[in-house]
């Protein structure tokens, strides 16, 4: 019983970063722009959080340091998001290639900057002030649920709140209606007076910034520093979560949690003697294989935004 409580707790820990990145990917893709750059946005976020938190520590900001790093992540990542938006929305570049460029450029430039800032070192200095799990008074003392749900990192609560907010915006506000229209049938949105490419541009920026929070989360909860393998594949798992969750905010949230379980199980199972012979990679493999399986069984009624990947050109003949 206690193990299950820890498992749930662990799930949230692993899933938090995925939730942020998946939500970021979701916003972009619902607007009709493929987001293969999630990995790059996460790298950028992880890097910024690592560097800014370090300098905040140096400036004696103490416990506020990780918060400063966390909030700095989306601001710096705006640069990469702008790149994706300009190339794919403004200049109609192939959105897949544009996303791949974001990944390549984010990886190379952040490592370049780390070496530049820290005298050729391959990673940022170890952070002393990172997020610690916040126990919610009273609730965290409850048996089982206390451990499972009420002593998590503060960013986890933010991620959950963000999922709900994005759901509300997407399905209950004019902005959401327009965003979905732009991703489904931009021609309709345009004739209805919605500025299609402007909305897509903003969606790419917002998506990149939110995804960067996922990268920051990894640095500031699990890793305590930024190295070249801080982010290795989480961005793609997040993309899988968007697809697995059928481009729906709650679906993507659920998928991120589900993929988090796989990771948490891996950590918990180490304790069990018999499981030591199972290669760890089975658990890494799981999200991708499951997503494929889901696609195989549901593809006939595809739920991806109809105009996903198609640049919108109003003057096209």
């Amino acid at each position: 019983m206690e193990m299950i409580a820890f498992l749930i707790n662990g799930t949230f820990v692993f899933a938090t970063a995925l939730i942020f990145a998946a939500l970021g990917g979701l916003i972009t893709e619902r607007a009709g722009v493929i987001n293969l750059g999630l990995e790059g946005f996460m790298v950028s976020g992880a890097f910024t959080a690592g560097v800014v938190t370090y300098y905040a520590e140096q400036a004696n900001m103490g416990g506020a340091s990780p918060w400063i790093g966390f909030l700095a992540a989306p601001i710096f990542t705006l640069l990469f998001a702008l790149l994706h938006a300009i190339a794919s929305v403004r200049f109609k570049a192939n959105q897949v290639i544009s996303g791949i460029v974001v990944n390549m450029l984010a990886a190379s430039s952040t490592f370049f900057f780390v070496k530049l800032l820290f005298d050729g070192a391959a990673e940022t200095p170890l952070l002393h002030n990172v997020f610690s799990k916040a126990s919610i008074p009273v609730l965290s003392d409850l048996p089982f649920v206390g451990v499972a749900f009420f002593s998590l990192y503060p960013v986890t609560y933010i991620a959950i709140a963000l999922a709900i907010i994005i759901y509300f915006i997407m399905y209950r506000t004019p902005l959401g209606l327009r965003l979905r229209a732009v991703g489904e049938h931009p021609g309709s949105a345009d004739t209805a007076g919605v500025r299609v490419n402007r909305l897509r541009f903003l969606a790419v920026l917002a998506g990149g910034m939110i995804a960067s929070l996922g990268g920051a989360t990894v640095t500031l909860t699990m890793n305590s520093s930024f190295t070249f393998h801080t982010i290795s594949g989480q961005g793609f798992i997040a993309l899988a979560a968007v697809i697995f969750g059928r481009w729906h905010p709650i679906g993507a949230f659920g998928a991120a949690l589900f993929f988090g379980v796989a990771q948490a199980v891996k950590d918990q199972i180490q304790v069990v003697e018999a499981a030591k012979h199972i290669p760890n990679e089975i658990f890494y493999l799981l999200p991708y294989v499951l997503t494929l399986v889901v696609l195989i069984f549901t593809s006939k009624k595809s739920s991806s935004p109809a105009a996903l990947g198609v640049p919108y050109e109003p003057g096209k003949r």
Binding site: R172, L177, T191, A192
Partner: protein, 512 residues
């Protein structure tokens, strides 16, 4: 109307160029308050381009747009909407998974606090629907409603936005005859309420029925503006095509031979599982042209695709000279002697990014003499293309230019040359003259008749009744996936055919 008209919309010298062509050349046009103005012209004359500029989708290269006596710059559709202009596009601009209400309010939603207020909007839509007799269900999902209702949703969209100038781009193209009647009544009602309407069309009958005036456009220029009450359909047609129209085709009486094609009880479902053909049976003899008349979407595409092997059939049989060819591959069907001039030459008939040479051998590239041991024989391929260019008078700078760069008529000639020169026993021609100018149309018709006279079986599928009446020897009427009647050009006319196409009247016999 009195002599003093309020001009609600005026276009002054509008010009729009696309790479290679001038789509609109210094167009002047006036729309009066409360009138229905028809904009008449052939395909490609520049009507849609003009209206897209009025609606802010394209920017004019030169010229001005005036609304209610004021010059305006129409840079986006939202600007147009703001100025009271609404447009119903040929291809509906609706978001399929959204409800009717969501589609209508998109872009001008009402809010309740932070959230969208769909309830009150739905109410208003219901009221407007009742007032203009549009019969719209606000809560239905657009995906699931009929084409006719989708169009009424489009009309509601612009009424909801308070438009006073309504533009309709080929509004009847996708409608059944009943739906057309309903639509025309709605348009008259709207004009009576003081709305000013522009309707883009090339159907003379509709213009005569509802329009007050008619502006004719040809090759991007305004030719004339006529009072419809004082004009004859012939005069309109002449202005539209630019010469005396005699689309009548000279041909001898058919000399049908033995039965070449026999189709029995054909059933076909589309990809979503809907029954598109429900027991179609007919046959064609050598040396006759059988025309299929019907409104678009009644199973014509499926019939053609089934006959050519491009689509699987559920049941039934298709025999060519007694040989069963149902559910064979397109290649086998073609090798058995079926030629096919497809309905959409850009989508099917040509690979637009291939050269004229490459397109000339689209169906023969894999065989000797076009390829040997899998290797393309370039000189043979080029010779074939040169032969086509020569004998079909294809106007092209050479054999190695991309098909994309040729005019529609010359593109069609490549297809016709390829299909006819393959010497098929049975030739299918689907909408073979769509979008062509008059000269090219008569060329195509002559070719079809020559094939008939050479003893081939020809199937002509067309949405243009004139074409069917002029070219076919025997007419089958298709409605809702079934052949509902059979007749001959001499025994019928447009009115009778129209009724049959609407499923209202049977032919002399159901099988020939």
């Amino acid at each position: 109307m009195t002599a003093q008209h309020d001009i609600v919309l005026e276009l002054k010298g509008l010009t729009k160029r696309f790479p290679g062509i001038v789509a609109n050349d210094s167009i002047d046009l006036q729309l009066r308050k409360g009138e229905i103005l028809a904009l008449l012209g052939e395909n490609g004359a520049g009507k849609s381009t003009l209206m897209n500029m009025v609606f802010g989708l394209y920017q004019p290269d030169e010229g001005e747009i005036w609304i209610n006596g004021q010059p305006v710059s129409m840079d986006t559709p939202s600007k147009a909407i703001e100025l009271g202009i609404g447009m119903v596009h040929q291809h509906f601009k609706l978001v399929p998974p959204f409800t009717v209400t969501e589609n209508i309010v998109l872009g001008m939603e009402t809010k309740k606090g932070l959230a969208i207020d769909l309830k009150s909007s739905a109410q208003r839509i219901q009221e407007l629907s009742d007032r203009y007799n549009l019969n719209i269900k606000p809560h239905a999902v657009v995906d699931t409603i009929s084409v006719g209702m989708q169009q009424r949703v489009e009309i509601m969209k612009i009424l909801y936005r308070g438009a006073d100038i309504l533009i309709f781009d080929e509004p009847t193209a996708v409608l059944t005859p009943q739906e057309i009647t309903e639509l025309l009544a709605i348009l008259k009602g709207l004009a009576a309420e003081g709305k000013s309407i522009i309707i883009i069309t090339h159907k003379l009958k509709e213009i005569m029925e509802i329009a007050d005036r008619c502006t004719v456009i040809r090759r991007g220029k305004v030719i004339d503006t006529l009072e419809v009450a004082a004009a004859s359909p012939e005069a309109l047609a002449e202005r539209m095509v630019g010469r005396n129209v005699s689309l009548h085709v000279d041909k001898e009486a058919a000399q049908p031979g033995e039965r070449l094609l026999e189709v029995k009880d054909l059933h076909v479902k589309d990809s979503s599982g809907q029954n598109m053909l429900r027991g179609v049976s007919f046959d064609i003899r050598a040396g006759e042209i059988v025309g299929i008349a019907g409104v678009d979407g009644n199973g014509q595409s499926e019939l053609i695709e089934a006959l050519t092997g491009m689509m699987k059939i559920e049941s039934g049989s298709i025999r060519l000279e007694g040989k069963e060819m149902a559910n064979l591959s397109p290649r086998t069907v073609s090798e058995l002697g079926v030629g096919h001039i497809p309905q959409d030459r850009h989508k099917h008939g040509l690979v637009l990014d291939f050269t004229v040479s490459e397109n000339s051998v689209l169906k023969s590239y894999y065989n000797n003499p076009m390829s040997k041991l899998g290797i393309l024989q370039e000189s043979n391929i080029r010779k074939e293309a040169e032969r086509f260019i020569e004998s079909y008078d294809i106007r092209t700078p050479g054999t190695e230019v991309l098909a994309r760069s040729l005019s529609g008529g010359n593109q069609q000639k490549i297809i016709i040359a390829r299909e006819i020169e393959a010497n098929p026993k049975f030739l299918i021609a689907a909408q073979p003259t769509r979008g062509l100018d008059v000269g090219a149309i008569s060329f195509v018709h002559k070719q079809l008749i020559a094939e008939r006279d050479a003893g081939k079986a020809v199937l002509l599928v067309s949405f243009e009744l004139d074409e069917i009446l002029d070219v076919a020897d025997r007419i089958l009427v298709i409605f809702n996936g079934q052949i509902v009647g059979e007749t001959t050009p001499s025994a019928t006319n447009e009115q009778k055919l129209g009724l049959m196409m609407a499923g209202k009247l049977g032919g002399e016999s159901s099988n020939g």
